[in-house]
């Protein structure tokens, strides 16, 4: 999938841009380069409808002069002179951030599992066979079920960073993803569920998400009647339902800059209790196979495994080089340094602070889903929400909708309800009576990186508003 010399070519390109920076007398510069190739298939209405492949990429150049920085991006090195000139002209009008300097080359830890050579060999035929298998599996699990949307895809990305401070790093990452919307439309009742799986390793032919999607399309059929009054009650959020809301609110709250600017609901609580006293929140930048993990962050600083909240107490925060320098220069904090938390969406953006692989765990361990249901006694199970992106990351408040919701009475699931609103404040809920499940599922997120959140039983603070 990836040309054999892909890494060498982008390193060479980045170095040539670096030389242009040097020739223009720039003291500090950084060039990043990405080149991705991939294959994907679309599935609609129970069949494969389109096969696509290709690649894209480009370069980003950051220049720094006396604490002033400029940035520009380009698709090929023939535009480098112009891009570097643009970056320099922007740096000239940018404010100087005292103490802001690009990071030096530092010793870092290798992170395993970022590239699966098997994915590099995957071609369209493999994906076609996988899609066929998925369609057959769905039909075999339930003859009424149809994959109304989704697809499978693989990609490989060659990436490189070259800087004036001696950083030269490059490598290949791979990914394999599958997602399906399974619908059952029978007797004038349509139920559906969307599930997905992604990994840096080759997924098995039929990923676990396939069975899960059929299960939820099945178990939400035949809604029961419930009182339409809103009720504050225990809610068991499955990992799939909770991770999106969590990813909108919690990573943002743990950014050092937001804490310093008082934009986080945790601002002013450094060293104080912010979560229930058994909960620990870790941003693991070194997780084997983690979607957001790597030996270096987006600006070449070694990533680390960082505890942000330990037994409920806020003990850490995430920083990039510039954010830490700027907050010190503005006098908002006495000291901070990069925690290796600089992320980079693509070559088109300068580095920004973000999480890598975020883990929520409890010192009490985790309970099985059956135990959580039994413990909640009366309440609801919510498996997915609509509108998680509308949650308010500043306050932690959210008000979303779900149609994959089951009612629980006396510790037993009594049936689905058609639709309900779900509202609350995620920060407050996590600081109260929370019980975690025992099975974190890796989820994509609205934040950078991956979420590794188990089922969460929220005993207080959530409201269900049946339609």
């Amino acid at each position: 999938m990836l040309p054999d010399d892909a890494v060498e070519r982008i390193v060479e390109g980045a170095q040539s841009i670096g030389k242009i920076c040097q020739s223009k007398g720039i003291g500090e510069w950084e060039v990043v380069a990405f080149q991705s190739y991939g294959h994907e298939l679309d599935i609609e209405a129970g069949k494969i409808t389109l096969a696509a492949g290709g690649g894209d990429g480009g370069y980003g150049v950051r220049v720094l002069d006396g604490g002033r920085f400029g940035y520009a991006h380009l698709v090929d090195v023939s535009g480098a002179e112009h891009a570097v000139s643009q970056a320099i002209s922007i740096a000239k009008v940018s404010p100087s951030v005292e103490g802001f300097s690009l990071p030096q080359n530092q010793k870092s830890t290798d992170v395993l599992g970022r590239c699966d050579s098997k994915i590099l060999d995957v071609g369209p035929e493999y994906l076609l066979e996988q899609a066929d298998s998925i369609l057959s599996e769905v039909a075999s699990l339930d003859s009424r079920a149809v994959v109304t949307g989704g697809g499978v895809g693989v990609s490989a990305t060659a990436g490189a960073i070259v800087t004036s401070q001696g950083i030269l790093s490059s490598g290949i990452t791979t990914s394999h993803g599958a997602g399906v919307q399974v619908s059952i439309d029978e007797d004038d009742e349509l139920t559906s569920a969307w599930e997905s799986s992604s990994s840096r390793k080759l997924l098995k032919s039929i990923p676990d998400c396939i069975e899960t999607s059929v299960h939820w399309a099945q178990c939400t059929r035949g809604p029961i009647e419930v009182d339409s009054q809103a009720v504050d009650c225990p809610v068991l959020m499955t990992s799939e339902g909770f991770s999106p809301l969590f990813s909108v609110c919690i990573p943002a709250a743990a950014k050092g800059e937001k804490l310093a600017r008082k934009e986080s609901f945790w601002s002013g609580n450094e060293g104080l209790m912010v979560l229930a006293n058994d909960l620990t929140l870790i941003d693991d930048g070194l997780m084997e196979g983690g979607m957001g993990s790597s030996s270096l962050d987006g600006e070449g600083v070694p990533r680390q495994t960082q505890t942000l909240v330990e037994n409920g107490r806020l003990v850490g925060s995430m920083w990039s080089t510039r954010d830490s320098a700027q907050m010190m220069a503005e006098g908002r904090i006495e000291y901070a340094q990069s925690t290796g938390s600089a992320s980079r969406g693509s070559h088109q953006s300068p580095p920004y602070t973000g999480c890598s692989d975020m883990i929520l765990k409890s010192s009490k361990g985790g309970k099985s889903r059956d135990d959580l249901i039994s413990h909640m006694e009366n309440g609801y199970i919510v498996h997915s929400v609509m509108g998680a992106h509308t949650a308010n990351p500043t306050s932690g408040d959210f008000s979303v909708t779900t149609s994959t919701i089951l009612k629980v009475v006396d510790g037993q699931i009594v049936g689905p309800i058609k639709q309900a609103g779900l509202s609350g404040n995620i920060a407050k809920a996590l600081s109260n009576n929370i019980i975690l499940g025992d099975r974190p599922i890796i989820q994509d997120s609205y934040s950078t990186g991956g979420m590794h959140i188990p089922d969460v039983l929220v005993m207080d603070g959530f409201r269900i508003n049946p339609a």
């Binding site: 409808t49 290709g54 690649g55 891009a83 066929d132 609509m386 308010n392 408040d397 509202s423």
Partner: protein, 479 residues
């Protein structure tokens, strides 16, 4: 390797990136290999973004991206190849035809092969030239304009921070097809935005604002940026004192922003013919049926210049026109592209859009609006409401098109008691079922307009305009 050729004259919008003769040969080669249709679409985007934090420049990012997509229909199935490496495109012809044929082989006997509706073939150029080309705007002008927002948004002790942003883009597209289509078009989009964060003890809130659309610098100059910032600040300060919304079913009045998001989510997406054809729309089989109240008429109009979702030609080269999705409550038209037009046996209506040159076109909305009604003011809409909600400003929404269930969130709201606005509220969301709530629209003011610009995600992200008048819904689920 990433290689893109430059246009013969990058200063002029009519400069071509693609070598017509070479691409023509490549398309013919695709036909020779067995393609029934082949196209090459190139998009070159020149743009910039500027961001201020507390009135100080945080970053400014200029850039140019070029992407090209080869799309081939062979044996009734699609094969697609996208790349930034234009020069490599001819080498991908044979493999992409093979890809399409491999997909076709998997089609069951009961599935219909993909066909394309006939369209007029053009060889022309259409350039929507702005009054003030955004590419000629220097960085200091952009910073000064954003500072207007920042200064007026931060003039209160409880405002802890402001962020302001600018983004502009000049979009140049070239489309060549095996049918002889050779079209070039270009236009610009410009946008400013601001966010105010305010804090009172442990209470922290934020409010976002946006202004922009299709056009150049003249568009931003037409906006009172100081007022935009001040309004955002006042709203943020109001939110500090706002109460949590009540839950339950009640009358709802939505401002222009929310009306737009509502119609986008609840109706626009289920009207997309690719979802209808896939069996993933609650509006499947409902053309010609009454699905809304008599006062509901909805249009989707990419020709509405100035709207953030405007475009002169769709990404299959089809001329654009206004689509009337609902007329007096009756579903009258789906949004479509050539494939779905053929599927339903109707004319293409210019609804094909791709995110950029590296994506293939899907059926998408453009500028979507409910048309105005016969009420003069919001007071007219409120006077009959004993207890309800007035919700304003959008924080986005989402829809499950198959089930027809949707959700959207407001930035702020008020309680309506005995026909008057009383308590400010925060974190209000509204949800419901498309086929129920369209029937519940029972009041619209006369003045339908596009509201703040937005972005729509459907695997690909495209800019859209939404709007309408102020709208009253007799009963909605508020949370």
């Amino acid at each position: 390797m990433v290689i893109s050729s430059s246009p013969s004259n990058s200063e002029i919008t009519t400069g071509r990136y693609l070598d017509q003769r070479k691409i023509g040969n490549a398309l013919q080669q695709a036909v020779d290999f067995g393609a029934s249709y082949a196209e090459v679409r190139l998009v070159a985007e020149t743009g910039s973004s500027v961001n201020l934090r507390d009135g100080i420049l945080e970053n400014a990012i200029p850039g140019q991206e070029v992407g090209v997509t080869l799309r081939i229909l062979a044996d009734g199935a699609w094969g697609v190849h996208s790349t930034t490496d234009i020069a490599s495109l001819p080498e991908q012809i044979e493999s992409t035809v093979r890809l399409a044929k491999a997909v076709a082989k998997r089609r069951s006997s009961s599935d219909k092969p993909v066909q394309l509706a006939e369209i007029p073939i053009f060889q022309d150029e259409i350039h929507w030239r702005p009054k003030k080309d955004i590419r000629n705007t220097d960085l200091s002008t952009k910073i000064d304009m954003l500072k207007n927002i920042a200064d007026s948004a931060s003039d209160h002790e409880k405002v802890v921070s402001t962020t302001c942003g600018w983004s502009d883009e000049h979009i140049h597209t070239e489309l060549l097809t095996s049918e002889g289509m050779d079209r070039v078009w270009s236009f610009q989009r410009s946008l400013v935005r601001g966010m105010v964060t305010a804090r009172d003890d442990s209470e922290v809130v934020s409010y976002r604002t946006r202004y922009g659309g299709e056009g150049g610098l003249e568009l931003i100059e037409s906006c009172d940026l100081g007022q935009l910032g001040n309004d955002a600040m006042v709203a943020a300060l109001r939110l500090l004192k706002a109460k949590r919304a009540p839950s339950g079913k009640m009358p709802l009045i939505a401002d222009r922003d929310l009306t737009g998001v509502y119609i986008h989510e609840a109706l626009g997406h289920p009207c997309e013919a690719d979802l209808v054809a896939a069996g993933d729309s609650c509006l499947d089989g409902k053309l010609g049926q009454k699905i809304g109240s008599d006062i509901v008429t909805v249009v989707d109009d990419p020709t509405m210049r100035g709207g953030y979702g405007a475009y002169p030609i769709d990404d299959e080269g089809v001329n654009t026109r206004a689509k009337r999705l609902i007329t007096n409550g009756v579903l009258t038209e789906y949004l479509n592209h050539r494939e779905t037009a053929a599927h339903f046996g109707i004319q293409p209506n210019g609804g094909a859009r791709a995110q950029d040159g590296l994506h293939h076109p899907l059926v998408r909305m453009s500028n979507t609006m409910i048309m105005g009604g016969n009420h003069d003011t919001i007071d007219d809409l409120m006077e009959d409401i004993d207890y309800g909600i007035y919700a304003c400003g959008s924080r986005g929404g989402q829809v499950d098109t198959g089930k027809g269930s949707f959700q959207f969130a407001a930035q702020e709201a008020w309680l309506i008691e005995n026909g008057e606005l009383t308590t400010p509220l925060k974190d209000v969301s509204v949800s419901g079922l498309t086929l129920e709530i369209l029937q519940n629209v029972n009041g619209l003011t006369r003045d339908a307009k596009l509201a703040a610009p937005g972005f729509c995600g459907k695997g690909q992200t495209v800019p859209v305009g939404d709007g309408g008048p102020i709208m009253r819904i007799s009963e909605a689920l508020v949370g």
